[in-house]
Symmetry: C2
Subunit: 344 residues, 2 copies
DNA sequence: ATTTGTTATTTAATCGATTAAGCTTACATT
DNA sequence: AATGTAAGCTTAATCGATTAAATAACAAAT
């Protein structure tokens, strides 16, 4: 109804009391501050009648708290991050926080910009999916005592809170799953990255082969710079050369899998007979593929939820030790990695 | 370096001047306010040395502007909205705005909550993908003089700014495309909704059939309440009954298409021979499907970009008439709607 | 009558920036 | 010498809320 936004002062005038009383009453401090019953009731009524809404800017300026969380991800248009963002949004809301999201495009400079902007806007804390070469930014946050939690990725050499996945184990299990299905020549397509999570996926893949006495050919590991059809094409061609031809492929992210599968379709290869497939991450596309794709299920809901929990606890001052949570992934087996018939 | 955040006052003390001068200089008003050259330089230097960052809360409280845009969408984890969100984020940033995103889940109550929260946080304006039964909320914003632009969906009876798609025409063309390919028995699966954009898609489909002298069977139109396998299954079964069997299907959203295609796979129907397919909206999954899916391409980048432009213009006071932008979709033809051989 | 205590309320500083208005100088003009 | 005026700064109010400290009003105790 009311056109303009009423302030505390307006309510105070209407109730013929000072702003202090109004503030006390509306913030549930009437007991401690001994506000009279009648006056309190009157104030409450007037606030309600005029639909008083406090100005959060003023509140925040005074209290130093904005009840806002900055979420830095690589790209909100990537379903993996979008899913996480949704969980974070919901969990944050449950705790009375609003989320500002920024997409870094895996770019350290953009990430720094976003963090700066969000710090200026006085977010209470950050949830960050780190990009390559952002250790310094993380260190800065620690120096400035700004609370944050790293999500999905972390830097093992930095003593930060984080919530991420046991990528080594997940990759190890993915490879083992294929090996046990009779696929002994397994390729891996990931990103060329200094980021720990990707390194761990590769290490898991490699150690699984080693522990099964498989001597991996160097061509079996492809680390692309970007997810371009160009690179994927060349890499897969390489893996398919006769003298070291792979019969299974693990993709390090679902997007790489989609690019790879497109090319595999082009080549007319049949999954899983010509090539078995396991991918990290889930995708709608995997369900619709003629041969549903086996994937490493990342517990996005748990990841996001836990990250918010850890951060909110820090924000509420219920600190404790560093919270370093490592979650387990689960292999969802579908036909793309069906065990080989006992031939071959 | 500096641990604590310096305020204007701190800078002023270090420079031995009043806060007013510092404010003038750092806001580029030294000319109008005749600040001395030397002092100005000194202030600038000190601000730089100590990496002074203004407190946006204070600025906003004073100016009444937060340079924040509230974006209300149905669900950030839905790629369609996530893509739009990304565009909006980037465009907003170019204009110096930060975006807060909220997911309404197509639910009027949640939508209202989000709007309230964002209004309290004093966003400068809104970009809204409206849910059903939110006309009142839109009207409230108008009454309160809060700038906003409706995106992707609008209410024809409300005189608001909006940026959306010519859904009628897009659906008409989609149906016509199928008709011209020889598919005369076309079903449509959409949502049961009072929202204009969905009604328009249905109308476009229906009028295309009419104008081609096709008498549509009532079973050909399925309006689901929710996107459940249950409803889809029953509906498609219905459309496939012998006496009025369809040979082509239009899906009203990409998610409906994905659900529908899953069931079509289950049934063992071959696209496009048993059933031709056209879907609204694009999806990664469509590329990977054994028979790539023809779809109505929605110009998300243009939609998002234009919405931000329109809103920012309003925010800058460069008003004018109501901006009501209606964009055209484009049919991207793939094999799922390949013209029938001249048999049948 | 004075002190003490309790309850109920107001005053005013504060958060950090912006900005209209006021105050000093210095110097030019009459 | 008196007046005007422009340059260069400072003062202080303001945005809207919170909250420690001060004050008022009144009852009970000394």
């Amino acid at each position: 109804m009311g056109k303009k936004n009423l302030s505390l002062k307006d309510i105070a005038e209407k109730a013929q009391v000072s702003t202090a009383l109004v503030s006390y009453v509306l913030n549930g401090k009437e007991k401690e501050t001994r506000v009279g019953q009648e006056i309190a009731e009157k104030i409450r009524q007037i606030a309600k009648d005029f639909n008083y809404q406090p100005n959060y800017l003023a509140k925040s300026l005074r209290s130093g708290k904005t009840y806002t969380i900055g979420l830095i991800i690589a790209d909100i248009s990537n379903p993996f991050f979008a899913n996480i963002a949704r969980i974070v949004e919901d969990e944050a809301k449950k705790n009375g926080y609003t989320v500002i999201i920024g997409s870094s495009d895996e770019n350290a400079a953009k990430s720094r910009d976003l963090i700066d902007v969000f710090v200026n806007r006085k977010v209470d804390g950050f949830i960050i999916v780190s990009s390559e070469d952002t250790e310094e930014q993380v260190q800065d946050l620690m120096d400035k005592n700004i609370p944050f939690v790293l999500l999905d990725r972390h830097f093992p050499e930095l003593p930060t809170d984080y919530v991420s996945l046991n990528n080594y184990k997940a990759a190890y299990e993915a490879a083992t799953h294929l090996l046990e299905g009779g696929y002994l020549k397994i390729g891996f397509i990931g990103y060329k990255s200094r980021l720990f999570h990707m390194k761990e996926r590769i290490r898991g893949y490699q150690e699984a082969l080693q522990n099964h006495q498989i001597a991996a050919e160097p061509e079996w590991l492809l680390e692309v710079e970007f997810n371009t059809l160009e690179e994927i094409r060349t890499g897969i061609d390489n893996m398919l050369e006769a003298r070291h031809r792979v019969n299974a492929l693990i993709f390090g992210t679902y997007r790489l899998a989609i690019s790879g599968l497109k090319y595999i379709n082009e080549l007319g290869l049949k999954v899983p007979d010509d090539l078995a497939i396991v991918s990290f991450g889930q995708a709608e596309a995997f369900d619709l593929y003629y041969c549903p794709i086996t994937y490493v299920h990342q517990p996005m809901a748990d990841l996001g939820k836990t990250a918010v929990e850890v951060l909110v606890k820090k924000l509420k001052g219920e600190e404790g030790e560093k919270k370093q949570v490592m979650m387990e992934a689960e292999i969802i087996t579908r036909s793309s990695s069906k065990a080989k018939a006992a031939v071959d």
